[in-house]
């Protein structure tokens, strides 16, 4: 046992298997162990829309990718360095991405004639030489797992379920990660079935031991990836859905209001409903409605009643909510609308990521119906952005759309926990008595233009609101032409006015006046940031500007974007922000579009920057 330990700065590992193989679980446990050892990381769960596709087929492949390092990690990594393939289908689907010369770990036990056939292989790739560009490690994990759990008396089928733990054990050994967090987790998870916990731990240990023993092929190395130099503080790993839900909960606490979430299950937004449903002791009330329309309407009804109404969905569901959002705009009630975007149109790619609902968020309603739109850029960023959405909704009495996406929702990253005491409350002042004898719900704050909010139950403030246009002066129904013009203008001015307190847009890398400004929003932050850094190290004069507030935009947007000679906008859509920017600022922004359901690779953005740099040189 004299394997050298090689020090690496970072590595990308991808676990791929059948959707019943427990790959997400394997990946998240590897993540946990990695986070606790102090490396920075980013993860990418990539799973099929089918709950359980036929075993062994390519469309049933579920994968989990993690990029981790002793340096700052902002993306999931362009190409895995290590691919763990649990069966032929997983190999077939994932091999293209593996770095040339990368390490391929394969469960040879699953490469049966039948599985090869199902994956569409005519010859066995382990034998026909097609993998010679990679370092190949084949082991019969199936057989060895069964051997290692023999003493627990499980049937063959049950025993094979621990195969993922066997592979995880091997990977933990290879990357010098601790097994303790995984065994702790298994013991807790299977507290009521100790024999299952024990079998899984045995498989984990067997996989680990496999790495250590003489059975080992000499080509296997151990790698060590150290802790990243991070700002001091308390950290935990968090997924976007968790951080976003907690941000909403914090918004409730900071505003002193109860949260009522109306939601209808939809991928990839459901985890927000699940997370908030588990926070009942915080006073958070969740309502699983009969459909998307009922979900938003219940949230709006709750807002009318004086609660902080929240609804969460994905693009197709947001489409259904459109009419109610118009009502929220017309009645000027606060509402937070979370859109965890997926690939579209229609049902599209439910489990894949895209950021193609920007038009829908900004324009997607009947009538002139402006509302604020925010986008979060990463799992950890969700917390603060969700609080900001709550704050704006309440301060300005308006629905707010908060855009996340499937990638952010499911991905995890280390999060430096905020100083919870330092979060600023934004307590709401409800109208408590009529002014001048008569209560007018549409009387406005001079600066914010927010209207009066009186809770039903408040004596003296009885009022009626609805979707029909109302008089600027009294709030009663009004069809007066000049009044409709005035109300349309004031609703627009109210939303536009939010820009006054949005922090100025600043490049996250580089500075104003660069030759190229790469402008992004949402989950493309990581790949853009890394690409810009690399391009700068190559001498390209390029900056990265990333939007959180998409409507209204920060007041200095025009000046900042015009300070660049060229603006490049990478988006996981066909150019939606590009169109908005061109429309608002007459800037000839160049699009870089990708709609494959997969996040950008750094090289894709980098190549576009290089092209632009050389073309315009």
């Amino acid at each position: 046992m004299t394997t050298d330990v090689q020090i690496l700065e970072s590595a990308v590992v991808r676990f791929a298997g059948d959707s019943g193989d427990g790959m997400q679980l394997t990946g998240s446990q590897f993540t946990n162990s990695t986070a606790l050892s102090g490396s920075d990381l980013a993860t990418f769960p990539d799973f099929p829309a089918e709950i359980r596709a036929p075993v062994g087929t390519t469309f049933g492949v579920s994968a989990f990718q993690i990029n981790f390092g002793a340096k700052s990690i902002k993306t999931i990594g362009d190409e895995p360095d290590v691919l763990v393939a649990m069966n032929p289908a997983a190999l077939k689907v994932s091999l293209d991405n593996l770095r040339r010369g990368g390490l391929l770990v394969v469960d040879a036990g699953s490469f049966t004639k039948r599985n090869l056939q199902k994956a569409g292989y005519e010859t066995n790739p382990l034998e026909d030489g097609c993998l010679e560009d990679y370092q190949l490690i084949t082991l019969d994990a199936s057989k060895q797992t069964v051997e290692s759990v023999k003493e627990f008396g499980l049937g063959n089928k049950d025993a094979l379920r621990s195969k993922n733990m066997y592979m995880l054990g091997l990977m933990l050994w290879m990357f010098d990660r601790s097994r303790a967090p995984v065994t702790d987790w298994l013991e807790k998870k299977f507290a009521k079935k100790p024999e299952i916990a024990a079998a899984n731990i045995a498989a984990l240990n067997a996989g680990h031991a496999y790495g250590e023993t003489a059975e080992l092929s000499t080509s296997i190395k151990r790698y060590h990836i150290g802790a990243v130099k991070q700002e001091p503080g308390l950290y935990k790993t968090v997924t976007g859905s968790e951080a976003l839900s907690w941000g909403l909960a914090a918004g409730g606490e900071l505003s002193g209001l109860d949260i009522v979430l109306g939601s209808y299950p939809i991928t990839p937004a459901s985890p927000v409903l699940h997370t908030l449903s588990s926070l009942k002791d915080l006073g958070i009330l969740t309502f699983q409605a009969e459909d998307e329309i009922a979900a938003v309407c219940a949230a709006l009804g709750a807002a009318f009643g004086g609660a902080l109404g929240v609804t969460s969905s994905s693009g197709p569901g947001i489409a259904l909510k459109g009419e109610a959002l118009g009502l929220a705009i017309s009645t000027e009630l606060p509402l937070v609308v979370v859109n965890v975007q997926r690939g579209g149109p229609s049902t599209g790619l439910p489990t894949k990521t895209e950021q193609s609902d920007l038009y829908q968020a900004i324009y997607g309603r009947n009538g002139d119906a402006p509302l604020p739109v925010l986008a979060t850029r990463s799992p950890a960023d969700c917390f603060e952005t969700a609080i900001e959405a709550c704050r704006i909704a309440l301060k300005y009495m308006t629905p707010v759309i908060l855009l996340s996406d499937g990638f952010i929702a499911n991905a995890a990253e280390p999060w430096k926990l905020p100083d919870m005491e330092a979060l600023e409350p934004f307590e709401v002042a409800f109208a408590s008595a009529p002014e001048d004898g008569e209560f007018n719900p549409y009387q406005r704050d001079d600066l914010s233009l927010a209207r009066n909010w009186a809770k039903p139950g408040t004596p003296g403030c009885m009022h009626r609101i609805g979707g029909i246009e109302k008089s600027y002066d009294t709030g009663h129904i009004s069809y007066d032409p000049a009044n409709h013009q005035k109300m349309t203008d004031v609703r627009a001015a109210k939303v536009a006015g939010i820009a006054r307190e949005i922090p100025p847009l600043e490049p996250s890398t580089g500075s104003a006046g660069a030759r190229i400004g790469v402008v992004g929003w949402g989950s493309t932050f990581g790949p853009i940031e890394e690409a810009v850094k690399i391009a700068r190290s190559e001498g390209v004069d390029v900056s990265h500007v990333h939007f959180r507030h998409l409507n209204p935009m920060p007041s200095n947007t025009d000046a900042l974007l015009k300070s660049f000679d060229h603006v490049l906008i990478p988006e996981m859509n066909t150019g939606q922000l590009k169109t908005v920017i061109r429309d608002r600022f007459f800037i000839d922004a160049q699009p870089l579009n990708k709609v494959s359901g997969q996040p950008f690779k750094i090289t894709e953005v980098l190549n576009a920057i290089r092209d632009l740099a050389s073309e315009k040189a």
Partner: protein, 339 residues
């Protein structure tokens, strides 16, 4: 403000001009509501009217209470959210046959199924009024309207049966012209701690005039209406000699005449509000020749907890077991320190 003097019809009347067609049945329902609320001890501030879209849904504007005129068919969902936010409010939901049974059928279904503590008043005039006279889910087959020039071929829906089918635990029926009958139904609905579904037969003078005239015509009303009272015999008719019996042969309700064929008062059914089977039969009554339409509370089943109370009970229970703050959640779980 309620301490000094009892509220009156005036207190509940808003300063807004009522804009229904002259002669519309909605006026009578509005007046009756404004008159009855003070009798129930309602306060202006705790009463909320929520409506969808349609003629009936203008109702909230005319009440000097809280009100929310929402969107087509979705009032039950809005009202559900409102009750979740504040279970103490007295929420009245005003809807029509198009609003509540067509575009909003799904939401009506679930408000009833969940037993949200709402008073749901469905004005049934068997026509679309606001959109100018198209047929509705309760319109009769064959009705000629702008969208059915050759007559409608859609079978019509029975709102009471619909409600019972949804699991409604309080179901009643009244009619716009019955100023004496309506208040009692309103009061019973108001008292009910759950979803109270009330069908109000209502006349649209412009697009479906006389839709209910065979029931409401003073000459025939007594023969065409069966006024139900819990514990009372189901007796009706001008002469007071007609009754409802359960016919074992057809397994349905049958009209009989007391004094004929050896029928005595003893043979007539006694109304039992808690009997779901009879309620289903009563819902259908009126379709056959000589049958009266059942009025009043057809069915009422007592429940421990309305939906929103059950939801809040879970929250209270969770808070008693452990009460965290968001800080506990963010800072809890598996964390590590970087120095």
């Amino acid at each position: 403000m309620t301490d000094q003097s009892p509220l009156t019809i005036k207190d509940f009347t808003s300063d807004q001009e009522v804009r229904w067609c002259p002669g519309c049945g909605d006026y009578a329902i509005l007046k009756c509501m404004q008159r009855t609320l003070p009798e129930m001890g309602a306060t202006l501030e705790n009463t909320v009217f929520v409506s969808g879209i349609g003629c009936s849904s203008r109702f909230p504007y005319y009440m000097n209470t809280y009100g929310f005129h929402t969107i087509h068919g979705r009032a039950p969902a809005v009202a559900t959210g409102l009750k979740l936010a504040n279970p103490d409010l007295d929420v009245w939901l005003i809807t029509g046959d198009g609003d509540g049974l067509s575009i909003g059928g799904n939401h009506t279904l679930h408000a009833l199924r969940r037993n949200v503590d709402l008073n749901i008043l469905l004005f049934n005039n068997k026509i679309y009024g606001l959109t100018k006279g198209q047929y509705s889910p309760t319109s009769e087959v064959g009705i000629k309207t702008p969208s059915t020039p050759m007559g409608s071929v859609d079978p019509s829906l029975n709102p009471i049966n619909f409600a019972l089918g949804c699991g409604a635990k309080f179901v009643a029926r009244t009619v716009d012209t019955a100023q004496k009958h309506m208040p009692g139904v309103f009061k019973a609905a108001h008292q009910y701690k759950g979803a109270a579904f009330v069908e109000i037969l209502q006349n649209c003078i412009v697009y479906n005039d006389d839709a209910w005239s065979d029931i409401t015509d003073k000459k025939t009303a007594q023969d065409k209406q069966l006024l139900l009272e819990h514990g009372e015999k189901m007796i009706f008719g001008k002469e007071g000699n007609k009754g409802i019996v359960f016919d074992m042969d057809s397994f349905s309700l049958k009209v009989v005449t007391i004094g004929e064929n050896n029928i005595t008062q003893e043979d007539v059914l006694t109304h039992d509000e808690s009997h779901i089977g009879i309620a289903r039969l009563l819902a259908e009554l009126g379709a056959g020749d000589g049958e009266p339409v059942a009025m009043g509370v057809l069915y009422q089943e007592s429940v421990d907890l309305s939906y929103e109370r059950a939801v809040h009970a879970q929250i209270d229970h969770a808070r008693q077991k452990k009460k965290r703050s968001i800080k506990d959640i963010v800072l809890g779980g598996q964390t590590w320190h970087v120095k």
